[in-house]
Amino acid sequence: MNETSMIPRKEEPSARFGLRLASWYAVVFVATSLAIVLLTYRLLAASLEERDQQLVISTLREYSQRYADGGLRSLADAVEIEQRSGRQERLFVRVVRGSSESLFLSAPYAWNDFDVSRLRGLDGLEQLLSQSGTARLEVASARFPDGTLLQVGKSSENREALLARFRTVLSIVALVIVAVGLAGGAIVTRSTVQPIRRLITAVRDIIRTGKIDARVPVRPERDAIDELSGLFNEMLDRITTLIRGMEHALDNVAHDLRTPMTRLRGIAERALQSDDEQTHREALVTSLEESERILAMLDTLMDISEAETGTMRLDVSEVSIAEIVREVVELYEDIAEDKHIQVSTDVEPGLTVPADSKRLRQVLANLVDNAIKYTSSGGRVALSAHREGPFVRLDVADTGVGIAPHDLPHIWDRLYRGDQSRAERGLGLGLSLVRAIVVAHGGTVDVAAEPGRGSTFSVRLPADRQNTSITRV
């Protein structure tokens, strides 16, 4: 496997994806924020400018009135009072006669920068750029019938200074926004891409090493990515179960077949060493029986493995319990009669379960077979079925030999034969198959047994299809 070339190439897409996500986030966030900052600035500048113009116009109106009422003297007084009061920034006030003769001029000394001679004295607002170009003079003019012109103006200098400070503040804000945007982008990327990257790493590890027990870490956040990780883990679990089951099954089949195959071989070898025709015939018959056993064992082992790994094909329909019980009891009627065992049934009428009828019959037949096998003459076997909560409970009880406590934990194991069981014919697979089929139907099977008193096997199957989690792969 070419690890070195495979990993970097495969890492690229997710890194690129992360970068793209981060830049998109940053771009959108920064652009929106800057647009808001810019708009704020514009609005502020506009309203400041309007306020200044309002001031200029209202002052002009006031001074015009003074000038009209009291002439130049009254205007000069008013200007002086206003300036002394210090209520506001000093304004530019000028009275001009004719084209250039200044009758009155009051201006802050810093105003030398303005070439006021360039003012044309138009009605309304007029703007004059300072010679250095850093500020503007906004002037409003009023013409009197005697030909004089009253001009009131205000420099934009203060406003500009305020706006300049504001710009500085906004630039800092903008810088912070950009920084936050980029950092946010990075965080979003990390939190989004990291789990994906972890998922990719986990999958790649599994593919590379073939070890299917690796799992993707799931954070407690439970977002979509975690859900995906969770589902992915669940899928891995299923696959693991399946593969383990199959490995297990193969091992078992190989192991379990070796013994009968060895017997078969031994029979043939012994027969070859003899010249007696009767011995040959005997060997052939035993071989046939042995091959039947191997076939039955193979079929049962396959059934168990399929049921355990969830690959068993279950032909599920509503199965009548009474019907199944009747069929199985009928099958064992003769044997029970021969052994003088009394078989009784007690089935709640109308009871059904969603199940594969053939498999369910196999379960019941195995349990009844065991019950009769381990019950001595004169004993009793009782089959009963009742609804128990969301389950249908099927009991097969006998008055037989029971099960020794040390055997109890092992009776479900493949090929386990308890001391009692060794004396009887059988494959040692019956109960394993019973449990595998019941579990595949989403049910459980338990046993209660007392040596010398008997055993009761209880099968619980989900009564409704909704409750059935019949394993499917």
């Binding site: 018959v285 071989s287 046939l288 029986e289 079929d299 099958l331 003769d334 044997i335 053939k358 037949a365």
Partner: protein, 220 residues
Amino acid sequence: MVEDDATIADFVSKGLSESGFAVDVATDGEKGVELAVKGSYDAAIVDVMLPRLDGLALIDRIRARGIHTPVLILSARRTVDDRVKGLQAGGDDYLTKPFAFAELLARLQALIRRSTGQTEPTRLSLGDLSLDLLSRRAERAATPIDLRPREYALLEYLLRNQGRVLTKTMILSHVWGYNFDPGTNVVDVLVSRLREKIDRDFEPKLLHTVRGVGYVLKAG
């Protein structure tokens, strides 16, 4: 018979010859089609897994040519797929490997009987044992025998296949309709009950055990 495994082909064709059949063997699907087209056969035995042309395709091929010879399909698969089940519904039959020769023979004869439409007898008999299928009465040496339903079903099955060995699996599926081996000795129990009724007080014994294979009903 179309079968690529020489040992199986050999033991089946020898067995069938001994039972009075004439058998031709083809070792792959194409040769099988050739045989079916050239000759006229009462039945065909076709393995599913065949070189060059698989068994199911072979059946399609010969059916397309208007050849309606009944086919017994042999499959090594444990679970028989739906396609094969479909063919069974269409009048053919299948058998999974490994199989007992006795079962193959019985299935083959049933197929031929069905396709040639032989009339059903109303009375079956072997020596002094007879079974009236209409009145459902059995008697041996003119002595009426009282049979329970499953004993009756078994006796009828044995009489229909007299001289032929029937395996436990065949009996189980015929008498109880079970198509799996529940790992029981129910068949032995039923057979010994029937033997008790038809053989215990009479000579010669008719119901014989063939060890390792099954049971057979025959005189001597």
